[in-house]
């Protein structure tokens, strides 16, 4: 079907302002938070309700048109890059929190509801939605489900999959299926668990039933300053070994600290090698002792200064520095690329050393933000996209860092997903049989391969080692 005809039929379903088909405007959809690769869709459609979403997808199914779902477009692995998918389906107008069940602590949100709205809707009742990605003021629940998003507080509370009780999924056929539901541990295979983290390759999530948790009675946030990343990493291992599970345990290295200090004047010493941001929460009784114990561990590992946030304002400033650190680092160079890998917690010093060596080898500046408590690393590579050679080195450095993670017994992604960015690295972690099994599983939901094609699992027909897009770019 010609794009014009398709646009007309889609407008009949979603209203005139729900279709974007002017080429010059479609440009804004050519990338998400991952900007190294770009491709604009031929058409963007924005349904207003879950029912309209399924009507849209049914029409696309009739015409056998592939599509890519998109929420707020804050993803960091290029999961919304339209590859062989002419149509982008945006859930940004599905913005309703449909029901709140305080007594059973659950809430039904449409896919376009912004993560932070969920907590805002229930915080008066001392509840919260635990997954808190740094982009939580903009990213959507649909996107969080697709990427199985994490956040600093996942150390204690778990990631998105631990907080989604059920999803409503529009299959690529347009058929609507409801998986999971209000009660936990339903019999049969865990299909919700399969959908969460599938990066839009199984269909479009339109609604999710979310678990709410009790807001902690008390919170202690403290910041420990270290001379080196090694010392801070040792402290991380020792804190966990002591039996305390902090709500969050974050590390920032020197480059990041300097950027944050420049942007927010949070009061970090310019010569510090690393800081740990530790948050403890729970019943007020005993929290002070835990904070003391953590402080003692930090001091034993050479922390030269420990600051405890005295009130909510000080706590907010510390977290602002952490949550907006990516943007602050962004001020140091025209562009940055945030990597996402995982290593066993005990290997943090090694991976940070490997990253430093990579930076030196490729003449790049790389800062480190780490969800240290669960070994999830976020090296931030600075570059200038106008320098083609530098772009090539950024891509190579990214590869090397991920390969190093895998070599240390870790993984390719903690929370950003595979998208297009890391699809070429999947064989580092999985055998051809593993990948084939994944392809077959996807086919159960999407036999024609029309939902977000060429994402997550490399195409079986291709020799993935040599044919990754980024490697082509680098050559």
């Amino acid at each position: 079907m010609a794009t014009g005809v398709l646009a007309r039929r889609l407008r009949a379903l979603v209203g005139d302002d729900g279709v974007v088909d002017a080429d010059d405007v479609l440009l804004v959809y050519e990338c998400d938070g991952y900007t190294l690769e770009r491709a604009a869709p031929e058409l963007v459609v924005l349904p207003r309700t879950p029912a309209e979403t399924s009507a849209v997808v049914r029409l696309l199914a009739e015409e056998r048109i592939a599509f890519v779902p998109r929420g707020a477009g804050t993803g960091l692995s290029g999961g919304t890059l339209p590859l062989a998918a002419p149509v982008m389906v945006c859930t940004s107008r599905l913005r309703e929190i449909e029901s709140i069940d305080l007594r059973n602590r659950r809430l039904v949100a449409q896919a376009g509801v912004v993560n932070s709205w969920v907590t805002r809707a229930v915080q008066g009742d001392r509840l919260l939605y635990a997954p808190d990605p740094s982009s939580q003021t903009a990213c959507t629940i649909g996107g969080n489900v697709a990427e199985n998003s994490g956040g600093p507080h996942t150390l204690k509370y778990g990631v998105t999959v631990n907080h989604v009780l059920g999803v409503e999924l529009v299959l690529p056929s347009g058929e609507v299926v409801r998986l999971g539901g209000a009660v936990e541990d339903r019999p049969g295979p865990d299909l919700v668990g399969f959908v969460v983290g599938s990066e839009g390759t199984l269909g479009i999530t339109t609604r999710a039933t979310l678990r709410l948790v009790r807001a902690p009675e008390a919170v202690r946030t403290l910041l420990a300053i270290f001379d080196s990343v090694d010392a801070a990493s040792e402290a991380v291992s020792d804190v966990i070994a002591s039996g305390i599970v902090p709500a969050a345990l974050e590390m920032m290295d020197r480059l990041v600290l300097q950027a944050v200090e420049q942007a927010f004047s949070a009061g970090f010493p310019a010569d510090a090698g690393a800081v740990l941001l530790v948050e403890l929460d729970g019943p007020a009784a005993g929290l002070e002792e835990q904070a003391e114990a953590v402080s003692a561990v930090c001091r034993r590992n050479g922390s030269r200064e420990i600051r405890v946030a005295r009130d909510e304002a000080e706590r907010a400033l510390l977290w602002k520095a952490r949550k907006r650190a990516f943007g602050a680092v962004g001020r140091l160079a025209p562009n940055y690329c945030t990597q996402d890998g995982v290593v066993p917690r005990s290997r943090l010093p090694e991976i940070v050393r490997a990253i430093a060596a990579t930076a030196e080898r490729h003449r790049l500046r790389i800062g480190n933000l780490l969800h240290a408590g669960d070994g999830n690393i976020h090296p931030v590579i600075l570059f200038d996209e106008r320098d083609a050679d530098e772009v090539r080195r950024v891509i190579e450095a990214g590869h090397e860092i991920l390969a190093a993670c895998v070599a240390l017994g870790g993984s390719l992604s903690g929370e950003h997903g595979i998208g297009v960015e890391k699809i070429g690295q999947m064989p580092l972690l999985f055998s051809p049989d593993d990948l084939l099994a994944m392809t077959r599983l996807k086919a159960v939901f999407d036999p024609e391969g029309r939902a977000n094609p060429h994402k997550v699992v490399p195409d079986a027909k291709v020799c993935v080692e040599a044919r990754t897009p980024r490697r082509q770019a680098a050559m």
């Binding site: 440009l27 491709a39 044919r467």
Partner: protein, 436 residues
């Protein structure tokens, strides 16, 4: 830059990185502020138009993307493209949200005149007429005279309620929201402080604010005197250029700012006080807007919103207290343009009997935005409905809005919906407590 085609059969036309910028020749904006945008998207949910339409071309990140593509010559200013740039309120909520410090106001400010020059002649003429009408002292009085004569009339309000949701209804509500002419006497040239003098301020009565809200101007001057400020009133200082600036009329805006600088730049005062938040935000950028004039930086540095100055100096104990429940709406040019959030609340807390009532999305634009409600009436009406929903949900009896545009807009919304809420300038509320 090379285009890579994916050999796994996917994605024709996937380009790795954007195309090279076109040489060194610049169309209308420097690339540095554009490159500061890292495309993270954190601005999107702060943007009123994105929140309403869900389309990324109506978000700050999308607009920056379009501006960059225009600058690089990838696209041209077609109707489709300019529609999304025109829809920007200029509220700068995105600057508050941006972690990378993108100077969005500078970007859109540089883009608007370039687009303005490329509009069809008839459209350009209409926008020029609007700008001149609002800033010309005589034309403005004549234009507003009928509104001032009938302003507040209950008949109008009733008609507006009946036509709620239509363009005619919006216009009637707007007229009904304009305060009626009360024959307020003109401000004296100088007002001496009460008690020990703590400094001298130059008060710019402004253009629209002076015509529509002379009572608020009197309240401002009276409160400042009560706080120990000697106030000189810069009669005839004219428009600061903020309105033409927002309409993309850069030369006009610069000429007006320069004229203002010439008339008041030499004054030996401690503070310069604008009468509207929009003027304040504009004047505080004077050093950047008139980089070639050394006095512009000094003017910018001395510019301070009257509410901020009052909060800083402190007011005496109020003579009486406000009994109603009050919610605070944050005008964009105060909260995002100047980072002022706490001061109006602190001042009001000191005069209100009851605690302030929280207002949902208090920092989201009400749709007034300078001349936006005249140039983009549909989106302005949507945002107004949203604001009034929040006002109703708050249950407040009074909404305090520290900007003339917001006052008329929110008041017109309340009238159209027939809700029993008063919309007042915080300075008028303070005057009630301190002066009457």
């Amino acid at each position: 830059m090379a285009e890579t085609s994916r050999e796994n059969g996917a994605g024709d036309g996937v380009s790795v990185c954007p195309p090279e910028p076109r040489g060194t020749q610049r169309r209308f904006v420097d690339t540095a502020p554009l490159l500061a945008c890292v495309h993270c998207g954190l601005c999107q949910d702060a943007c009123p138009t994105y929140v309403e339409t869900g389309r990324e071309a109506d978000s700050p990140r999308g607009r920056i993307h379009l501006v960059r593509a225009l600058e690089e010559g990838r696209i041209e200013p077609t109707t489709e493209v300019t529609r999304h740039l025109d829809a920007c309120l200029g509220c700068l909520a995105c600057e508050t949200a941006c972690p990378s410090g993108v100077p969005y106001g500078t970007v859109i400010g540089a883009t608007r005149p370039w687009i303005e020059d490329r509009r069809p002649a008839a459209v350009r003429a209409a926008r020029r007429a609007l700008a001149s009408l609002l800033v010309h002292p005589v034309a403005r009085r004549i234009a507003f005279a009928p509104l001032r004569a009938v302003g507040g009339a209950s008949l109008l309000a009733r008609a507006a309620r009946r036509l709620h949701g239509t363009r005619a209804g919006s216009l009637l509500a707007f007229a009904a929201a304009v305060p009626p002419a009360r024959g307020t006497p003109a401000l004296p040239g100088v007002v001496e402080p009460v008690g020990t003098p703590r400094g001298t301020a130059l008060f710019l009565p402004g253009c629209v604010a002076e015509t529509l809200f002379p009572e608020t101007a009197r309240a401002t001057v009276g409160l400042l005197a009560a706080a120990g400020v000697r106030v000189r009133v810069a009669h005839g200082s004219g428009c600061c250029g903020a309105l033409p600036h927002h309409l993309g009329r850069a030369d006009d805006a610069r000429a007006r700012l320069r004229a203002l600088l010439r008339s008041v730049g030499g004054e030996r005062v401690d503070w310069i006080l604008p009468s509207a938040a929009g003027c304040g935000a504009h004047l505080r950028e004077a050093g950047h807007l008139l980089a070639e004039e050394p006095a512009a930086g000094a003017l910018a540095a001395k510019t301070i919103d009257p509410l901020v100055l009052l909060a800083r100096l402190g007011l005496p104990e109020p003579r009486r207290r406000i009994a109603e429940t009050v919610a605070v709406h944050d005008p964009c040019h105060l909260v995002h343009g100047q980072g002022v959030r706490e001061e109006p609340r602190a001042l009001l807390r000191a005069v209100c009997e009851k605690p302030l009532v929280p207002l949902r999305e208090s920092e989201l634009c009400c749709g007034s935005a300078g001349t936006y409600n005249l140039t983009e009436p549909d989106m302005a009406a949507r945002l107004l409905e949203r604001k009034i929903d929040a006002v109703v949900a708050s249950g407040a009896q009074v909404v305090a809005a520290a900007n003339p545009g917001c006052l008329v807009q929110v008041r017109s919304g309340a009238l159209s919906r027939g809700i029993d809420v008063r919309v007042e300038h915080p300075l008028d509320l303070l005057a009630r407590a301190h002066l009457d």
